[in-house]
């Protein structure tokens, strides 16, 4: 297997605002985290070059847990699910959670910031 690790010396630039919100929640509860610290190779070509890789959004060192967030609607996360299945096949010792759109929305509701979440997740984020 092949993985690469990033050297995080500067504050990360989050790809999506929901990632920034997730990081703020972790900070609020004093939970150490790293942003996309490691890239896992998933597929290689015949010459051994990596053709597909996956970088989970967060790593929580205290829990030895990777967390991937997605705001995609359920119909659109097939590719993400496939990557996660492949990751688990190749790296069975890796502990990873996929937080889907509804998980994120429920988290925001729990914290009473669901109206704020609607801005982050989209206006139809309440769909069940």
């Amino acid at each position: 297997m092949t993985t690469t690790e990033s050297n995080q010396q500067t504050p990360p630039v989050f790809v999506h605002p929901i990632e920034a919100e997730f990081a703020r929640i972790l900070d609020y509860y004093h939970i150490p985290w790293e942003y996309e610290p490691r890239t896992f190779a998933l597929h290689w070509d015949d010459e051994g070059n990596i053709t597909e890789a996956f970088s989970p959004d967060f790593y929580l060192p205290d829990s030895d847990l990777y967390v991937e967030l997605t705001t995609l609607r359920p119909k659109l996360i097939t590719k993400k699910n496939r990557k996660l299945r492949r990751l688990r096949e190749l790296y069975p010792d890796i502990n990873i959670q996929l937080w889907k759109r509804q998980d994120l929305r429920d988290l925001m509701i729990k914290f009473g910031i669901d109206e704020h979440a609607a801005k982050l997740l989209g206006t139809d984020s309440q769909e069940k």
Binding site: Y29, H30, S63, Q97, D106, D114, Q126
Partner: protein, 191 residues
């Protein structure tokens, strides 16, 4: 005549419920079993039960009355993560326990454990006071989104990965007084 109110007795609150997951009777029976187990396990240890406000109130009130050994109870309160509070820094205790916990057998009582973020913070605080033991009892457990591993000594029910209300669990401070636990109708969430 049943001594339980039917769900429809709760009028507009019950109207918001799509499905009852755990009835009042089921909850009562499970709480009784947990109370009996605690009474057995902590006999002669005068446990101090600690809960975090506000969601734990119904469970704590019912659980206490199912425990048949001497015990004490105290509560904590913690700041919630909100758009406003996150700007002010980190989580903080808004109310600490009033009973000294050093060398005490502590049983931390929760209504529901989901990510474990709040509980992890509270347990760290309690451990710093060096109790004789520190265990966790939760009525409801949502393990799939657990970000911090939490060891549970007593557990009532596993919950599905859905937003549930009742028996202390709220949506915008409503539904805590329902004696059962259910799923909210989707339209309730509409902003």
């Amino acid at each position: 005549m049943s001594r339980y109110f039917p769900p429809e007795a709760y009028g507009e609150l019950a109207d918001g419920i799509r499905e009852v997951l755990f009835t009042e009777e089921e909850i009562e029976e499970r709480v009784r079993e947990i109370g009996q187990a605690i009474s057995h396990d902590y006999n002669g240890r005068n446990p101090l039960l600690i809960g975090v406000l506000k969601g734990v109130m119904p469970f704590m009130a019912d659980l206490l009355r199912m425990i048949t050994i001497p015990m004490e109870v105290d509560f904590m309160a913690v700041s919630s993560y909100t758009v406003e509070s996150r700007e002010q820094g980190m989580v903080r205790l808004e109310k600490d326990v009033e009973i000294p916990i050093e060398e005490r057998h502590i049983l931390f009582v929760e209504d529901v454990i989901d990510t474990g973020l709040t509980l992890n913070y509270l347990l760290r605080n309690l451990r710093a006071h060096e109790p004789a033991s520190l265990e966790v009892c939760t009525l409801f457990n949502k393990p799939r989104r657990r970000l911090i591993p939490i060891s549970l000594k007593y557990k009532g029910f596993d919950l599905p990965d859905r937003f549930v209300v009742g028996y202390g669990l709220d949506y915008r401070e409503k539904y805590r007084n329902l004696p059962f636990v259910g799923l909210l109708k989707p339209e309730i969430f509409q902003p």
